[in-house]
């Protein structure tokens, strides 16, 4: 049975489900309702099939490599290689796509009559199809085709809400950044081809010894930049906070939960598998990028009052945390400590899964709120918990999971990441040790700041009094959206409670890497009770924590409510208002909430204050009529990173322009010179 599910034919059924979903939705584009149902039905069916396929592959450890004939070009072959790592990522995409599609059935309705639903369904299905190709392709050129399908489809979904000029601008920024990334990936693949003579990943892997060390390092840098753009590492992240808010929310959830992980997937594949053995500084670079991305990501998130931009910055933070795990895995593997590399890799994989779950949950929650409020500005929310109780509850679970609060899943993967970094401190020497100390410090501060950020987010969205009249018209979302969010909330809880069982499956994936096969079977990250680290360095159990917490809660509630305080009355009154009428303007705003942290980190965030005063008498300037204060954060990347590059490219182009005079005779001369040069070079 398992063999049938994991066979190539089953994989093609998976691909064709999404393909049929895409084409059919395009054909049905005249009718909004049927296009919506058709596209999401096939996406749901495909995701379910993908779940079945990936779980069967992981359990049976049945990897498949196969080739489809009929390639028109000699260098391009449609070869697939589905190993455990691919299967794991297929599992993630299917899981998230399943609930996003269920959510989309209700969510897409508000686009009816406004935009073309068929086109959205077309791109949506092709987007997932593209990701599946990226995860399974085993040939460089074929991989790039999948990569482009994924990027272009997501570009069209970013600009889907095209009436807003901001979205089109964001889409354009995304496209430019994506192509910069793709250019670097192409460079990496071409270099591999030059020295090894093949685009096929399996051939490259077996011939990696042919690579000179210099070329290998350049390939590393090119791949790091190329895949780093997609993953959203700082300072290549600028497209992320622009594109995620622009896309429809279920697309943001997929982009943030899954698409940016394809960058991580390829980093794992290249650095830990294909290009092994690697020099130690690769791991150090990845670890440093992880430190910077996690800390700066959460700091920028704190400054945001646009809910989706806030979540987008948290994606950068979490990519940073994943890279902390991956970076230490790379370092340990180059120091030939496979057992520790294994631990770090499992931590990175687990956090990849967990982040996909809680981040898509949060994006879907944000989408429901935006759908009712018609604005992304959190300052105009407030008190929504009374109008959208279920959404609020699911968002609370997502907030707790992303803040790494036990017993939700985020805690357990951060715990594993912490532990692998601790092992680094305990074992390594001098400068490497300090690097790991720095990484632990970054992770610790990231955790604390993320908690502050989600108190701010949850508080200003759902708590206190409404800050705009729009809130009082808000209604709870339709059922399909609630099911999508509720299921993800449930998963984020279950993956926390059953973290040890999940990790024992992830161990299998870790062991499938060639470099990690030397480690003895006895090294395990989990046992039946909970997670643990070898030599009983430490252990933790989610289930026990949950049970004792629930037990304590019940006992306290019974003692307080039923025994001590039985005859007590509860009166409903007004909040203490110091004698004035309380209005929403007296509540703390989300900008105000984070202001003290912004001021403390002013060296990094460069906050700006701008006063605009409108005087009733412009001559005397004593009586201001209105006074506006705008607070902002300096964009250091634009001024210190992108602007210099832009200036350089512009000045270079100006120089090149000199040879272009518009005179036909001169162009004929150029052609003549070019001809002569090529003639001589051939002779």
């Amino acid at each position: 049975m398992l063999e049938i599910i994991t066979s190539p034919i089953s994989f093609f059924i998976l691909l064709s489900l999404f393909f049929v979903g895409a084409i059919g939705s395009l054909l049905l584009r005249k009718d909004d309702d049927s296009a919506n149902i058709w596209s999401n039905f096939f996406a749901i069916a495909g995701s379910l099939w993908g779940l079945l396929f990936s779980v069967a592959t992981i359990i049976s450890e049945h990897t498949a490599a196969f080739l489809v004939n009929g390639s028109p070009f000699p260098l391009l072959s449609f070869s697939f290689n589905i190993d455990l790592l691919s299967a794991f990522f297929i599992f993630i995409i299917s899981l998230i796509a399943l609930f996003c599609s269920i959510y989309a059935v209700g969510y897409v309705r508000h686009y009816y009559q406004k935009y073309n639903i068929g086109a959205l369904g077309f791109f949506y299905n092709f987007f997932i199809l593209g990701i599946l190709l990226v995860l399974t392709a085993s040939n460089g050129i074929f991989f790039l085709i999948g990569w482009e399908i994924m990027s272009v489809a997501s570009f069209f979904m970013v600009i889907y809400d095209r009436d807003d000029q901001e979205n089109v601008k964001a889409g354009f920024l995304y496209l430019v950044m994506t192509y910069i990334g793709t250019a670097f990936i192409v460079v990496a693949f071409l270099l591999l081809y030059k020295f090894i003579g093949s685009f096929d990943f399996v051939t490259i892997k077996s011939g990696v010894a042919l690579l000179p060390i210099g070329a290998k390092n350049i390939i590393f840098l090119a791949a790091l930049i190329g895949f780093g753009v997609k993953a959203g590492i700082i300072p290549l992240h600028i497209w992320l906070p622009a594109a995620h808010p622009a896309a429809p929310s279920h697309i943001s959830a997929l982009m943030s939960g899954v698409m940016i992980k394809t960058g991580i997937f390829m980093m794992m594949r290249l650095f830990l598998d294909i290009l092994q053995p690697i020099p130690i500084w690769w791991g150090i670079v990845v670890l440093i990028i992880g430190i910077i991305s996690s800390l700066l990501g959460v700091l920028y998130a704190l400054t945001e009052h646009d809910i989706k931009r806030l979540l987008a910055y948290h994606s950068i933070e979490n990519i940073g945390i994943i890279l902390l795990g991956l970076g230490s895995a790379l370092i340990f593997s180059s120091l030939s400590m496979p057992a520790l590399a294994f631990l770090s890799l499992v931590a990175a994989l687990f956090h990849t899964l967990n982040h996909a779950i809680f981040k898509s949950l949060l994006f879907l929650g944000a989408g429901s709120v935006i759908n009712q409020m018609h604005t992304r500005n959190m300052e105009e929310y407030g008190g929504l918990i009374k109008y959208m109780p279920q959404t609020a509850f699911f968002f609370l679970i997502g907030s707790m999971a992303i803040s790494a609060l036990p017993p939700f899943n985020g805690f357990f993967s951060e715990w594993l990441t912490f532990q692998s970094l601790f092992q680094g401190i305990a074992i390594l020497d001098s400068s490497m040790r300090w690097l790991f100390i720095l990484a632990v410090g970054a992770l610790a501060f990231t955790g604390g700041l993320a908690l502050a950020c989600f108190v701010k987010a949850f508080g200003s969205i759902f708590l206190a009094r409404p800050r705009s009249t729009e809130v009082t018209h808000a209604k709870e979302s339709p059922r399909s959206m609630l099911i999508g969010m509720g299921a993800l909330a449930m998963l984020s809880f279950l993956f926390g409670i059953f973290s040890s069982q999940t990790v024992s499956l992830l161990e299998k994936i870790g062991r499938s890497f060639d470099v990690l096969q030397k480690i003895p079977e006895t090294i395990l990250v989990s046992n039946s009770q909970g997670l643990m680290i070898e030599n009983s360095f430490s252990s933790v159990s989610g289930l026990t924590f949950l049970l004792s917490l629930v037990g304590a809660l019940i006992v306290v509630a019974i003692i307080i409510d039923l025994i001590i305080n039985r005859s007590q009355k509860i009166k409903i009154g007004a909040t203490w208002d110091c004698g004035t009428d309380l209005n929403p303007r007296m509540e703390i705003t989300s900008t105000g909430f984070a202001r003290s942290i912004v001021v403390i980190f002013k060296g990094i965030l460069k906050p700006s204050i701008q006063h605009t005063i409108d005087y009733s008498d412009s001559e005397s300037r004593y009586l201001p009529r209105t006074r506006t204060v705008s607070l902002g954060v300096g964009d250091v990347y634009k001024s210190y990173f992108y602007q210099p590059i832009l200036t350089m490219i512009t000045s270079l182009s100006m120089r090149v322009k000199n040879i272009q005079s518009g005179n036909t005779n001169i162009y004929v001369l150029y052609i003549l010179i070019a001809l002569l040069v090529s003639l001589f070079s051939i002779l």
């Binding site: 803040s403 159990s541 809660l553 001590i564 409903i572 909040t575 203490w576 208002d577 105000g592």
Partner: protein
């Protein structure tokens, strides 16, 4: 026997923690030439509050209502999961230092949400300040625990308390550094001087009291009790992890009672130190507090660097 020990372990934190607050207030009163209230006053306050009716703001949601129960239960759970007077108990399930740190963060999370929920300016700013301080304290907190975890080769705090760190004299200096670093974090997390003034209400700079301003009756009692528990937990971690002397190594009536007595003496010394600190220094300006927390972080980082 084990069951009795476990029961003492669970019940000890909520039972003794109000006493610590009472003793601190008493010592501070004496240092100010006042007679001061009895050291059992916090118990009477809690008892009184628990029997009162309560008023809840009409702006409050269910978050405000459940927050006191969660905040209090978390302190109960952590109080039972850390070494208090014994070291032979093993707890491989909830006794991890990171679990303790992040479980305490659950309490902070709901405390801050409770402060935001009623929509008063006091609560909001209290929450904002609390989250700022706790975010910055997290680095020092984890690092000081990590120092002793690395010395002992485990992050399980029962195992740390069980090891005799004075056998290795060479780690004395890092331990002392981390001990100092932990004190800074302790004062920040338990809302004491120089971070917060636990004695005032309606002062513009207050943090903890501002968040629980709208609570009344039994919910206020639970919040106050939880903050006593938190103080007790931090003191217990401080004295037991950095000076694991006098803990009961074997079960037995005499060793256990000796363990409890020595533990109480150690806690009393800690309480005395806090009272002396509070009597001799003023509250800091809010934006000077990050410097203090950064110092704690650096002290602990140096401590980790010195372990070898």
């Amino acid at each position: 026997m084990t069951i009795i020990i476990l029961e003492i372990q669970i019940i000890l934190t909520p039972l003794v923690s109000p006493l610590c607050a009472g003793v601190i207030n008493k010592i501070k009163a004496r240092l100010q030439n006042r007679k001061g209230a009895s050291i059992f006053q916090p118990y009477r306050d809690l008892w009184k509050l628990l029997h009162k009716d309560e008023i809840i703001s009409r702006d409050a949601s269910w978050i405000f209502r459940i927050a006191p129960f969660i905040v209090f239960s978390i302190t109960l759970l952590i109080g039972a999961s850390i070494p208090l007077f014994t070291s032979f108990l093993t707890n491989t399930l909830t006794g991890d230092m990171l679990l303790i740190v992040y479980a305490l963060a659950i309490g902070t999370f709901f405390l801050a949400l409770g402060g935001l929920d009623i929509g008063s300016a006091f609560g909001g700013f209290g929450s904002s300040r609390e989250m700022t301080l706790s975010a910055l304290a997290e680095g020092g907190f984890i690092f000081s625990l990590l120092t002793i975890a690395l010395i002992n080769g485990t992050t399980n705090i029962f195992a740390i308390a069980n090891a005799d760190i004075f056998l290795h004299g060479k780690y004395l200096f890092p331990t002392l550094l981390a001990f100092g670093g932990f004190l800074v974090v302790l004062l920040a997390e338990t809302a004491r001087f120089p971070y917060d003034n636990p004695a005032t209400h309606l002062e513009l700079t207050m943090i903890h009291e501002a968040m629980i301003l709208e609570y009344s009756g039994k919910k206020l009692a639970l919040m106050e009790w939880a903050s006593f528990n938190k103080l007790f937990i931090f003191l217990a971690l401080w004295v037991n992890l950095f000076f694991p002397i006098g803990l009961a190594y074997t079960p037995g009536v005499i060793t256990i009672s000796m363990g409890i007595i020595i533990f109480m003496i150690k806690i009393f010394l800690g309480v005395l130190l806090i009272a002396l600190l509070e009597s001799s220094m003023a509250k800091f300006r809010f934006f000077r507090l990050p410097d203090l927390l950064l110092i704690s972080f650096i002290l602990n980082a140096i401590a980790i660097g010195l372990i070898r």
